[in-house]
């Protein structure tokens, strides 16, 4: 079974406090923030590895990202992926989710046959949650969102459990299909030292726009149907009246505020 896992290296959330907006150019400044694999990316990969362990086959990690994201793919290889593809080209810069999905779909098609694709339900940074469904559409395969358990794969049918509002939904979907995973699906394994050593000898291939037969302007800023206009950092500060001291002294003040609020 060929299992493709799409990953999105994103700036480390622990360092988002240092993201600044240039007051003049309005460009986001986030130099020096390394990219990491998000929690859902790792779960997507973990699920791919588990399916491989059960059904055999190969796990392929793919990411569209700047060249620096190579480290993140090495991490995926160290976790257990068999090979990795970095889709990287200046022409991809500024891609929205439509365009990103298109690049990924071309890479999947170039890769060849596959049975299953796993993605995180949403990325840590943009968090749109679009790419899974859009990649499914561009490949012409069904997608299943927010999967928290792959219950079985029998006779070319995958039975999955997805979370929905106040409950869950069990679906049967024919392979090949695309699964986006939710948080509860698994606990990703740790990377072993052996895995790290092994990763060095696994294939990590970079594909640029030309390799994917993507023409300039087809993706990236000019190929994306959406454009980003104004960017701003929202102001959420309020001026708090601070209380400290003995509980008995503070309680009447809190009660007053509660009653005032609820009018």
């Amino acid at each position: 079974m060929n299992i493709i896992v799409c990953l999105k290296p994103a700036p480390d959330p622990k360092r988002w406090d240092s993201i600044q907006l240039d007051p003049i150019t309005k460009a986001l400044q986030r130099e020096g923030i390394p990219s990491v694999l998000g929690p859902l990316d790792k779960r997507a990969l973990e699920e791919g590895l588990r399916v491989r362990e059960k059904h055999g086959g190969k796990v392929v990690a793919m990411a569209m990202a700047p060249p620096s994201a190579k480290d993140n793919l090495v991490e995926a290889l160290a976790m257990g992926a068999d090979e990795a593809y970095l889709l990287s080209d200046r022409a991809f810069a500024g891609s929205d989710t439509w365009s990103t999905s298109l690049v990924l779909s071309k890479a999947v098609i170039k890769f060849g046959t596959f049975d299953l694709i796993f993605c995180g339900s949403y990325s840590v940074d943009g968090s749109t949650g679009h790419v899974g469904a859009q990649l499914g559409e561009f490949l012409g395969i069904p997608n299943v969102s927010q999967v928290v358990a792959v219950e079985s794969i029998v006779g070319g049918m995958l039975r999955s459990r997805s979370i929905v509002e106040s409950g869950y939904r069990i679906l049967e979907t024919p392979l090949p299909c695309l699964i986006t995973v939710g948080r509860e699906i698994n606990t990703p394994r740790f990377t072993s030292l052996f895995g790290v050593i092994e990763a060095e000898s696994k294939p990590l291939i970079t594909w640029a726009a030309g390799d994917l037969e993507i023409l300039p302007g087809e993706v990236g800023f000019n190929g994306s149907p959406t454009q980003t206009g104004d960017v701003f950092l929202p102001e959420m500060k309020r001026k708090a009246q601070m209380l400290a001291g003995e509980p008995e002294e503070m309680v009447p003040e809190i009660i007053r505020k509660i009653r005032q609020a609820l009018g």
């Binding site: 395969i141 000019n222 959406t226 009246q241 209380l243 400290a244």
Partner: protein, 416 residues
């Protein structure tokens, strides 16, 4: 929006010039029908270039040389060429996806009708509600009352339970035929699955989780969306593709007052293809919904990682009870199982706007703050004076909640 590349956004011209675009566009290759070309061909701009459904990939046991790369590649080139002759004026009307399950309309659909009404007044356009299901005709009434001028009704046994592909088929066909200018969907589990699939099929842009929507005099929908957990907000535009699509989480907009129903119901054809029906719903399980949803509650008491244990969590629940309010939380209580997904507040959860929010043991990461910033009064209780939530609160209480909350409950119970 791809946040990865957002730092380049300033360098990008805000409105792309058509001339520049044309230089970048590949000439149409032989075999490209050019079905995406806007306007001049007189055809619908969204006619797919290859027949959908015929391009299901084969499993690895089969021939692997027959992947649908050709059709796909040309589809995109044509989509871009379509930008050369935009005829955006032909796209009219503000649409809302009217989500229903088991014959119940979701509240957020009505909220979206309120937003659509606002946009429609500015745009002097009609509001359309797109309703899919089986035996759901009676839901048209509330949709008309809450702001729809027209309900597009697709009623079919095959649409009884939501499935991605049949719903995508019906809606994409309808969009192609009727050409709405704007299409809003709820960012629920159904809407978040459906919207990207539809947007990809009709080759248009989509923004996620809009916190505000407005329209300029060029008819461009200005979609304000969060990135980096809400630390950054960005306005997304979709200048050359139609419809302009956006999803909105529950609780972001308010539904209007119901009016006397006017307008009409238009039955739309349902032409689902066999390949759309290969996926099956085996079971849908619904747990107990919380007594009061946190979006509607006037008071919300929320707890965070600082609560420490199930036993102490009871204080959060008891305080909510005496305030006749709802219980919410951050990510850690969800991971601990103290709250359900429905109760998580923040960027990947609910947006609330209660009269009173009390945050207990909550550090106040940005992902949580974006969900509470519209609360009228914010009270923060935390024994760590450096908790970020204090910066965004109206009243900050530096104390161990175990000493404060029981006294508050006692006091509130006393006075009813």
């Amino acid at each position: 929006m791809n946040a990865d590349y957002m730092d380049n956004s300033a360098a990008k011209p805000k409105s792309l010039s058509l001339n520049k675009c044309s230089l970048l566009n590949p000439p149409l290759k032989k075999g490209d029908i050019g079905g995406f070309a806007f306007g001049a061909s007189g055809k619908s701009p969204l006619t797919p270039l290859y027949k959908r459904g015929e391009n299901y990939l084969r499993t690895s046991s089969k021939n692997n040389n027959e992947l649908p790369s050709q059709g796909r590649g040309s589809a995109t080139s044509a989509a871009i060429c379509g930008n050369l002759r935009p005829n955006l004026e032909e796209w009219k009307g503000i649409w809302v996806f009217a989500e229903q399950e088991e014959g119940c309309l979701s509240e957020v659909s009505l909220e979206l009708l309120g937003a659509a009404r606002f946009l429609a007044e500015k745009r002097k356009a009609e509001v359309g509600a797109v309703l899919l299901g089986h035996r759901v005709h009676s839901l048209a009434g509330p949709l008309l009352a809450y702001g729809a001028d027209r309900v597009f009704l697709a009623d079919d046994p095959l649409l009884e339970k939501y499935l991605t592909l049949p719903y995508t088929r019906v809606i994409a066909d309808l969009i192609t035929r009727k050409q709405p200018e704007i299409f809003l969907l709820p960012a629920t589990s159904i809407g978040s699955d459906l919207a990207p699939r539809v947007a990809a099929r009709v080759n248009t842009g989509l923004s996620a989780h809009c916190s505000s929507l407005d329209i300029n005099d060029r008819g461009e929908l200005m979609q304000v969306v969060p990135a980096f957990g809400g630390k950054v907000m960005a306005t997304i535009l979709c200048q050359k593709h139609r419809p302009q699509m956006a999803t909105v989480r529950p609780g972001v907009f308010r539904k209007g007052q119901p009016q006397k129903e006017k307008g009409n119901v238009e039955k739309i054809p349902v032409e689902i293809k066999p390949e759309d029906l290969r996926q099956k719903v085996i079971e849908i399980h619904r747990g107990k919904r919380p007594a009061q949803s946190i979006e509607e509650a006037e008071a919300v008491v929320a707890g965070g990682a600082g609560i420490g244990g199930q036993e102490d969590w009871n204080w959060v629940e008891q305080l909510a009870r005496v305030l006749h309010g709802a219980v919410g939380g951050t990510r850690p209580p969800l991971d601990e199982g103290w709250i359900t997904e429905d109760q998580m507040i923040g960027q990947s959860g609910k947006t609330i706007r209660p009269k009173l929010y009390i945050g207990i043991g909550i550090s106040g990461v940005i992902q949580h703050l974006v969900g509470i910033q519209d609360a009228k009064v914010i009270i923060a209780i935390n024994n760590d004076p450096k908790a970020a939530l204090f910066q965004s609160a109206d009243l900050g209480v530096v104390a161990d909640f175990r000493k404060i909350v029981p006294l508050l409950i006692e006091e509130l119970e006393k006075k009813g």
